[in-house]
C-alpha cells in the first residue's frame, strides 16, 4: 500500500504528461534517425578501411593480434591519451568528493568472505593471463585492467579493513604508474630511435608487454577507485608527500 503510493508519487515526479514539446523532440529525433538511417542504407560501404594496411604491417608491429598492434603500436598515441583520460577521471572524482563513510561494522557473511578470498586471486590470475594473451589473441591491458578493477570492486564491497590502511601515496603511485611507464617508454623510444613511440627493432613485443602490464595495473586501480567514489579520508593536502 505504502509502496504503491511511493511509486505513484515518483511517477508523477519523473514523468510529466506527454506534452507538445516532448512530441516535438520525439518527432525531431525520429526525423534525424530516419535521415541518418536512410543515408546509412543508401550508401553501402565501398572502401575496405584499414584492414589491408594493418595486415601488411602486422609483422613489423611486434605482436600478433591486430587489435593490440593498432592500440599500442600504430595508434599508440591515442591510447596514451586515453590512459590519461582515465587518470583524469580519478583526479576529477577525488577533487569532487571524499569517499563515503564506510558503513559501520556490519558483519559480512562468511560465505561472502570465502567467495572474495577465492575469487580475488582467480581474477588477478585471469587478468594477468589476459594481458599476456593480448599479444596474440583477444585481450590486453584494457581487458586485464577491467578484470582487476572488478576484483578491486569486490574487495571494496566486502569492506576489508586493511583496504583503509593503504597509504594514499601508494595509491597515487599506482595510479600514475601506467601513464608514467607509457610516457617513459615513448620518450625513451624518442631518444633511441629519434621518433616518439617508434619501438627499436626487435623490442616492440617486450615493450608493448611492459606498457600493457603497467597500464593494466593502473587501469584496474583506477576503476576500483572510481567505484570508491571519492578521495580517501587520509588524502589531506600536504600530508602525503612521498
Amino acid at each position: 500500500m505504502k509502496k504503491g503510493k511511493k511509486i505513484k508519487k515518483q511517477t508523477r515526479n519523473r514523468r510529466r504528461p506527454f506534452d507538445g514539446l516532448q512530441a516535438l523532440f520525439l518527432f525531431l529525433v525520429f526525423c534525424l534517425i530516419t535521415l541518418l538511417g536512410a543515408i546509412l542504407s543508401n550508401s553501402p560501404r565501398t572502401v575496405s578501411g584499414l584492414a589491408g594496411a594493418v595486415a601488411s604491417l602486422q609483422d613489423q608491429s611486434g605482436v600478433e593480434s591486430p587489435v593490440t598492434a593498432v592500440l599500442l603500436n600504430f595508434r599508440g598515441y591515442d591510447t596514451l591519451l586515453e590512459v590519461m583520460v582515465l587518470l583524469l577521471a580519478v583526479i576529477g572524482v577525488w577533487s569532487l568528493a571524499k569517499a563515503p563513510f564506510p558503513t559501520p561494522e556490519t558483519d559480512i557473511s562468511p560465505v561472502q568472505m570465502g567467495v572474495v578470498r577465492l575469487l580475488a586471486p582467480v581474477m588477478c590470475l585471469v587478468a594477468a593471463y589476459l594481458v599476456w594473451q593480448g599479444s596474440h589473441l583477444a585481450g590486453g591491458a584494457f581487458q586485464g585492467g577491467a578484470i582487476l578493477g572488478a576484483a578491486g570492486v569486490l574487495l571494496l564491497v566486502s569492506e576489508l579493513p586493511w583496504l583503509h590502511a593503504i597509504p594514499v601515496y601508494v595509491l597515487r603511485i599506482g595510479l600514475v604508474l601506467g601513464p608514467l611507464v607509457f610516457v617513459g617508454t615513448a620518450l625513451s623510444c624518442l631518444f633511441l630511435t629519434g621518433t616518439l613511440l617508434a619501438y627499436p627493432k626487435g623490442t616492440a613485443g617486450w615493450l608493448i608487454l611492459l606498457i600493457e602490464t603497467a597500464c593494466a595495473l593502473s587501469i584496474g586501480l583506477t576503476l576500483a577507485l572510481l567505484f570508491g567514489g571519492g578521495r580517501p579520508e587520509s588524502d589531506v593536502p600536504g600530508g602525503d608527500s612521498p
Binding site: L35, L36, I39, N42, S43, R45, T46, V47, S48, G49, L50, A53, V54, L57, N73, F74, R75, G76, Y77, D78, L80, L81, E82, M84, V85, L87, L88, A89, I91, G92, W94, S95, L96, R172, I173, L175, V176, P179, L180, V183, A186, L187, L190, F191, T193, G194, T195, L196, L197, A198, Y199, V236, P237, G238, G239, D240, S241, P242
Partner: protein
C-alpha cells in the same frame, strides 16, 4: 640531435610535457606551482620555436611511431594551428601565474584556507592535463585522435568547473559534462560516417577523398553539431554562462578563453579546409545567422545580468557569434583573406576575455561579491585591475588598435563588398551592445562611494593584477602585429591556399 632548433621532435613537446607535468602534479603535493610554471614557460618557448621552424621550413608533419598515414597518427604544424598554440601558451602562462596568486590569497584566509588548499591540490594536475589536451588538439592531424583530445579537454574542464564546490557550480558542471559527452558522442558518430565512406582517419588523406556525397555530408553535419555543442553557439549555449560564471576565477579564465576555442578551432578547420569543397553557401549562411543571433542575444543578456561574472560569461556567448559570422563572409574574394578574421577574433578574445575574467575574479576577491550594483569605488582600491578591465573591454568592443578591429574591418569590407548589409548591421550592433555592457560596469567602478564603507582587505598580490593587465594590453595592440600574424597564417596552410588561389597575402 633531438634538441637542435630544426629538429621536428619539438612538435611533440607541447603535448608530452604538460602530460608529464600533470602526472607529477598529481603525484607530488608540494612545489606543484613550480612544475606548472616551468611547463608553461617551456611551452611558450616551444611555441615560439615551432613558429620559427614554420617560417624557415614551412609546414612540418611528424609521424608518431614512424607510421605514416593512413595507418599511423601524424601531427602537423601550419599557421592557424601554431597561432592557436601560441595563444594557448601565452594565456596559459598568465593563467598559471594568476592561479598561483589566487590560491595564495585564498589560502591565506584563516577560516577557509584548508578548503582552498585542497582545491589547489587538484587544480594543477587538471590544468596541466587540459593544457596537454588543447595543445594536442591544435597539433593533431587525425580525426579520431582529435576525439580523444576533445575527451581530455571536456573531462578536465568539467572537473575544473566543479572545483569550487558550490552547489551552483556543481550543477552547472554536471550539465557541462553531459553536454560535453553528448558533443563527443555526436562527433564520434560523425567519425563513423566518415570512416565508412572514406576508410581513413588522417586529415591529410581525408582532404583528398572528401567528396560530395550523402555520407560525407551527414558526417560533416554530425561533426559540426557535436562541436557546436561544445563551442556553445546559440541556441546550444545554455550551459555556458552558469558553468563559466560559477567556477573559480582562474578556472573561468581557462574555460572562457581557451576551452571553447578548442572545439571552435576544429570547426574552423573542417569548414574552411577539410570540407571546404562541399560546404554550400546556404550552410555558411545558416552558421552566420546563428552567429548573428548569438551576438545580439548574448549582448542583450549580458546587459541584463546583475552579476559581473555572469555578465562576462554572456559576453563570451556574444563574442563567439563573431567567430561564426565570419563563415558566410569568407567566400568573397576581396584580396583580404577574410578567413583570417576568425583567427584575429579568437586571439583577441582569448587575451581580452582572460583579462576580463581575471579582473572580475580580483573584484570578487576584493569585495567578496560581484553584484554590479555594489561595485562602487573599486577604481580607487584596484586601479590596475580596473585598467585591465577597461582595456579588455575596449578590445572586446573592437575599437581600433585591438585585433578584433582588424577582424571587424575585414568582415565589414567583405559584407559591404558583397552587398550583404545585414551582417554589417549585426556587427556594428554587437559592438554597441558590447559598449553598453562594458561601460555599465565601468561606470560603477568610477563612482566615488559615499562613505568609506570598504572593509579592510589584504592587498592583492601583483600576480593577480599584472597578468590581467598584460593580457589586456596584448589584446589591445594586437593589430600592430597583424602583418606578422598574416605572414604566419599564410605559411603552410595548404588547404586554405587551395581554397583562395591568390587570395593569400
Amino acid at each position: 640531435m633531438i634538441f637542435l632548433a630544426d629538429s621536428p621532435s619539438w612538435m611533440i613537446t607541447p603535448v608530452i610535457l604538460p602530460l608529464i607535468a600533470g602526472l607529477l602534479c598529481f603525484l607530488f603535493s608540494r612545489r606543484t606551482f613550480v612544475i606548472a610554471l616551468i611547463t608553461a614557460l617551456i611551452n611558450l618557448f616551444v611555441a615560439c620555436l615551432l613558429i620559427y621552424q614554420l617560417l624557415v621550413f614551412g609546414t612540418i608533419r611528424y609521424y608518431i611511431g614512424g607510421w605514416r598515414p593512413p595507418i599511423g597518427i601524424s601531427l602537423r604544424t601550419d599557421g592557424p594551428a601554431l597561432l592557436m598554440l601560441l595563444m594557448t601558451a601565452v594565456t596559459g602562462l598568465a593563467i598559471t601565474l594568476y592561479a598561483r596568486g589566487y590560491f595564495s590569497y585564498r589560502i591565506a584566509d584563516p577560516v577557509r584556507g584548508s578548503r582552498h588548499q585542497h582545491q589547489q591540490r587538484y587544480f594543477w594536475p587538471l590544468w596541466m592535463l587540459l593544457l596537454a589536451g588543447l595543445n594536442g588538439l591544435f597539433l593533431s592531424g587525425d580525426i579520431f585522435n582529435l576525439y580523444v583530445t576533445l575527451e581530455l579537454i571536456g573531462i578536465s574542464a568539467a572537473s575544473l568547473a566543479a572545483l569550487s564546490g558550490k552547489p551552483a557550480s556543481q550543477r552547472a558542471s554536471f550539465r557541462y559534462l553531459l553536454i560535453s559527452l553528448l558533443g563527443s558522442l555526436t562527433y564520434l558518430l560523425g567519425i563513423v560516417f566518415f570512416y565508412r565512406t572514406c576508410g581513413v582517419l588522417d586529415l591529410g588523406v581525408l582532404q583528398n577523398t572528401a567528396i560530395n556525397e550523402p555520407g560525407i555530408r551527414a558526417a560533416l553535419a554530425l561533426l559540426t553539431v557535436g562541436l557546436l555543442l561544445k563551442t556553445a553557439l546559440v541556441p546550444l549555449h545554455f550551459w555556458l554562462p552558469p558553468a563559466h560564471a560559477n567556477a573559480l576565477a582562474p578556472v573561468s579564465v581557462i574555460l572562457s578563453a581557451l576551452v571553447v576555442k578548442g572545439s571552435f578551432y576544429l570547426l574552423f578547420r573542417f569548414w574552411f579546409e577539410l570540407f571546404a569543397p562541399i560546404v554550400t553557401t546556404s550552410a555558411l549562411n545558416f552558421m552566420g545567422t546563428l552567429g548573428a543571433i548569438a551576438i545580439l542575444w548574448g549582448g542583450i543578456q549580458a546587459i541584463r545580468q546583475q552579476r559581473l561574472k555572469l555578465m562576462v560569461a554572456y559576453s563570451t556567448v556574444s563574442q563567439l557569434g563573431y567567430l561564426f559570422i565570419a563563415f558566410p563572409l569568407s567566400r568573397t574574394l576581396t584580396g583580404v583573406p577574410v578567413w583570417s578574421a576568425v583567427i584575429f577574433i579568437a586571439l583577441t578574445h582569448a587575451c581580452a576575455k582572460s583579462a576580463m575574467f581575471m579582473a572580475a575574479g580580483n573584484v570578487y576577491l576584493h569585495l567578496g561579491h560581484d553584484r554590479i550594483r555594489n561595485l562602487d569605488g573599486v577604481r580607487a582600491s584596484l586601479p590596475i585591475t580596473v585598467f585591465a578591465y577597461g582595456i579588455a573591454g575596449v578590445s572586446l568592443m573592437g575599437l581600433p588598435p585591438s585585433g578584433a578591429f582588424i577582424a571587424k574591418w575585414m568582415l565589414l569590407t567583405s559584407s559591404i563588398d558583397s552587398s550583404q548589409w545585414w551582417w554589417a548591421l549585426v556587427i556594428m550592433a554587437g559592438s554597441l551592445l558590447a559598449m553598453v555592457y562594458v561601460f555599465r560596469v565601468m561606470s560603477h567602478f568610477f563612482v566615488i562611494p559615499k562613505r568609506e564603507s570598504l572593509k579592510e582587505t589584504t592587498p592583492l598580490s601583483p600576480l593577480l593584477e599584472w597578468p590581467a593587465l598584460i593580457l589586456a594590453l596584448i589584446a589591445l595592440f594586437l593589430s600592430l602585429l597583424a602583418p606578422w600574424l598574416l605572414h604566419i597564417l599564410s605559411q603552410g596552410s595548404t588547404g586554405l591556399a587551395q581554397l583562395f588561389p591568390g587570395g593569400l597575402p
